[in-house]
């Protein structure tokens, strides 16, 4: 475990430069926009010069890029940046939008786990049969489908035709425990709110998870097959263990690489899904970034990028640590 601690410390040390690197790249790219962002924020062509000048001063738009970057990061950290677009503090905006993205990710993940893993196991057990081929083709279709297209097809089916889902509003219960409505409703066993959340999020969640289902099925299949050809399986068979017992051992071994991939996927999805969120009008992190970009709000954009990178890097770190726990062979 001492080694693990050293590993975590080493990872945390590379954490910070990466974080600074990502935000700096985005900042540089966004800050050198040819258009004057202050003019856009002040209302376009007919904005008064005084307002523009004031905004320029307030947001430190002139001067050395490095100094401006430092100013922005410092102010973001101390929560002093008010987005010129939403007129809220950037962190407040992000905190308000994060639960939406989190719920979307959780629901997408439920689909991935419930469909991807069983499909992968079935494909591995029925290797080279028509089931295996079908699942393989399905996985390929999954990574080939433009999600925005699929989303409209399913909206047509479930909203226009069947009226099963809702497409407006974000259900929030009157109480708040964790700040995430889905978890709150589950804790309180409030099935009415839960139903509302599901009817709002189930389709976007499916769309977001769609690509992951196929990918997961493929990974589960391959790692399951790898585990089944391991020596210990041969040994177990030779000892005359029951098939079910053998599968239990295989499953435990096969899931090790799967956990890594799923962890990274979770981190990636938490970074916001601009396309899905836009189609379904969900006010999540991805949508926030898109709006910031459209309005040249690079302050909020850098803030959001910082936030996403933080989440993504943390997810990576957690996955690496988790790896040591589920696979005792891993030594740091």
């Amino acid at each position: 475990m001492a080694n693990l601690r050293r590993f975590i410390i080493r990872r945390l040390i590379t954490f910070i430069p990466t974080l600074i690197g990502v935000t700096f790249i985005v900042f540089i790219i966004a800050a050198v926009i040819p258009a004057n962002p202050a003019r856009v924020w002040a209302g376009g062509q007919k904005a008064s010069p005084q307002v523009i000048k004031k905004l320029e001063e307030e947001y430190h738009l002139k001067g050395n890029l490095l100094e401006r970057y430092y100013w922005l990061i410092y102010k973001l950290f101390t929560n002093q940046i008010v987005s010129p677009r939403t007129h809220h503090y950037v962190w407040e905006d992000l905190a308000y939008r994060f639960p939406v993205t989190l719920q979307l990710t959780i629901i997408a993940f439920i689909y991935i786990l419930l469909l991807g893993i069983p499909l992968g196991i079935v494909a591995a057990l029925k290797r080279d049969s028509w089931i295996d081929t079908t699942i393989r083709i399905l996985a390929l279709i999954g990574v080939s489908t433009p999600v925005f297209w699929l989303a409209y097809l399913l909206i047509f089916l479930f909203f226009t035709q069947l009226h099963w889902i809702t497409l407006a509003g974000t259900p929030v219960p009157p109480y708040s425990i964790t700040g995430v409505p889905l978890i709150d409703a589950l804790l309180k066993l409030d099935f009415k709110t839960l139903g509302q959340i599901l009817s709002r999020y189930s389709l976007p969640g499916f769309i977001l998870g769609f690509m992951g289902i196929g990918v997961t099925a493929r990974i589960v299949r391959n790692s399951f097959l790898d585990a089944m050809s391991a020596d210990f399986v041969e040994y177990a068979k030779a000892r005359g263990l029951k098939k079910l017992r053998i599968y239990r051992h295989v499953l435990r071994n096969a899931l090790v690489p799967v956990v890594t991939v799923l962890g990274l996927m979770f981190g990636g999805l938490l970074g916001g899904a601009p396309i899905t969120e836009r189609i379904f009008g969900l006010p999540g992190i991805g949508n926030y970034m898109l709006q910031s970009i459209y309005q040249y709000d690079y302050l909020a954009l850098t803030g959001a990028v910082f936030f996403i990178a933080l989440i993504y890097l943390t997810a990576n770190l957690v996955v690496d640590i988790l790896y040591a726990f589920i696979d005792p062979r891993v030594r740091y």
Binding site: P34, I137, F148, I155, F156
Partner: protein, 390 residues
């Protein structure tokens, strides 16, 4: 022991692929004398891969899909009944958001002459959009846009990564550490979101660049099959290309580095180093050609992903700008009329799906074909029982 020519049970496809591979070998021999003799084993291996590929239905389906896509992209703009920006509402007011199968009449007159349209009755195969532009024509033009965008991205983006991977892998040590940490920065962030941030800020600069370089502008306009007045709209499309250059390389850096690490342990590299061959020369002449194979395969596989990502960015309104016919953009513009004008979403999306699926099917099959284990098993399966049986 005599080594007889290996005899395979050949199907018609195998004969065609034999001819193609022989043709390539013949060409290489023309360029470099003696290439065919020196690479006999390699040519036979290629033929064997082709046989294996020919025996995989998904691979063949993918290959067909891609052939159709390439054909549409090349000849599409010439066979399209209308130009991508022709508003049919100018002739027939019912042509606005016309459903598939609607017949539009174009009367002879000054307007038809001015817009270079032949008068007559036209059936709008796939319907039309809110400006009365023929969706079928726009999808044909869109194939060209997709292909050119994908190629433009692929001839630059991955090569940044390949160069970084080559240098990092060969030099190792601090150079490797620095370059890989730099790569990690890009990997530490979802590529799509980074691309969104990038593509939003380039258009103005690219517009200036295109205005300053008319030769480049005209070349690109010809590639995209666009009219000169849409050079401004093209700038946004190019900005997506540039944005994807900047995010499409980290995977290649990792891949190349790994390949170089194993390739540089080869004896011939050591021999070259002992002979005092300059490092640059070793990298380019001895290592690079030997790792090119897997890189090229990976590049081909990646085409589908590039097309899908570009369509996604266009859907978000960051790539192509109207009136450019881009599949993702058509869906974005059509979504305002959903679900009534379903064809504006259904058909372009189907085209994206089939194209990307084609590339992925080929990729999936290639991965099998390139795996020596599966290849040998197929080799045994198709070998005639010439030596043992008869």
């Amino acid at each position: 022991m005599e080594m007889a020519e290996e005899v395979y049970e050949k199907k018609i496809l195998d004969k065609i692929s034999d001819k193609v591979i022989d043709g390539i070998a013949w060409l290489m021999d023309k360029v470099r004398k003696g290439w065919k003799r020196r690479n006999k084993a390699r040519i036979d291996e290629w033929k064997l891969m082709a046989y294996a590929f020919n025996r995989s239905p998904p691979g063949l389906i993918g290959f067909t899909l891609i052939l159709i896509f390439l054909a549409l992209a090349v000849i599409g703009p010439y066979i399209a009944p209308f130009s991508y920006d022709l508003p049919l509402t100018a002739f027939d007011s019912t042509a606005k958001l016309a459903p598939p199968g609607k017949v539009v009449t174009i009367k002879p007159g000054q307007l038809a002459e001015f817009l270079h349209v032949k008068p007559g009755n036209y059936t709008l195969l796939l319907g039309s959009d809110d400006y009365g532009r023929d969706l079928y024509s726009r999808i044909l033009y869109g194939a060209r846009v997709s292909l050119v965008v994908a190629i433009l991205i692929m001839i630059v983006g991955p090569w940044i990564g390949i160069a970084i991977g080559l240098v990092a892998g060969y030099y190792g040590g601090k150079v490797d550490e620095a370059l890989m940490r730099f790569t990690d920065i890009f990997l530490a962030f979802p590529g799509l979101i980074l691309a969104i941030a990038f593509s939003a800020v380039f258009p103005d600069r690219i517009r200036e660049f295109l205005a300053a370089n008319p030769a480049v502008r005209d070349f690109l306009l010809a590639l995209f099959a666009l009219k000169p007045q849409h050079a401004g709209a093209m700038a946004s499309l190019i900005s997506v290309v540039v944005a994807l250059w900047l995010v499409w390389w980290p995977g290649y850096a990792r891949l190349t580095r790994g390949l170089v690490l194993s390739a540089r342990e080869n004896v011939y590299v050591e021999a070259a180093r002992a002979l005092g061959v300059p490092t640059r020369w070793i990298l380019l002449r001895h290592i690079f050609p030997n790792i090119l194979g897997p890189i090229l395969v990976y590049l081909t596989l990646d085409f589908g992903g590039v097309i899908l990502t570009e369509a996604g960015l266009s859907f978000l309104g960051l790539g192509a700008v109207p009136p450019i016919a881009d599949w993702g953009r058509i869906i974005n513009d059509g979504s305002a009329y959903f679900p009534n004008a379903w064809w504006l979403i259904f058909y372009p999306g189907l085209m994206i799906l089939l194209t990307v699926l084609g590339f992925n099917l080929i990729g999936d099959t290639l991965r099998d074909v390139l795996d020596p284990k599966t290849r040998r098993s197929i080799e045994f399966k198709i070998k005639k029982k010439a030596s043992g049986g008869k």
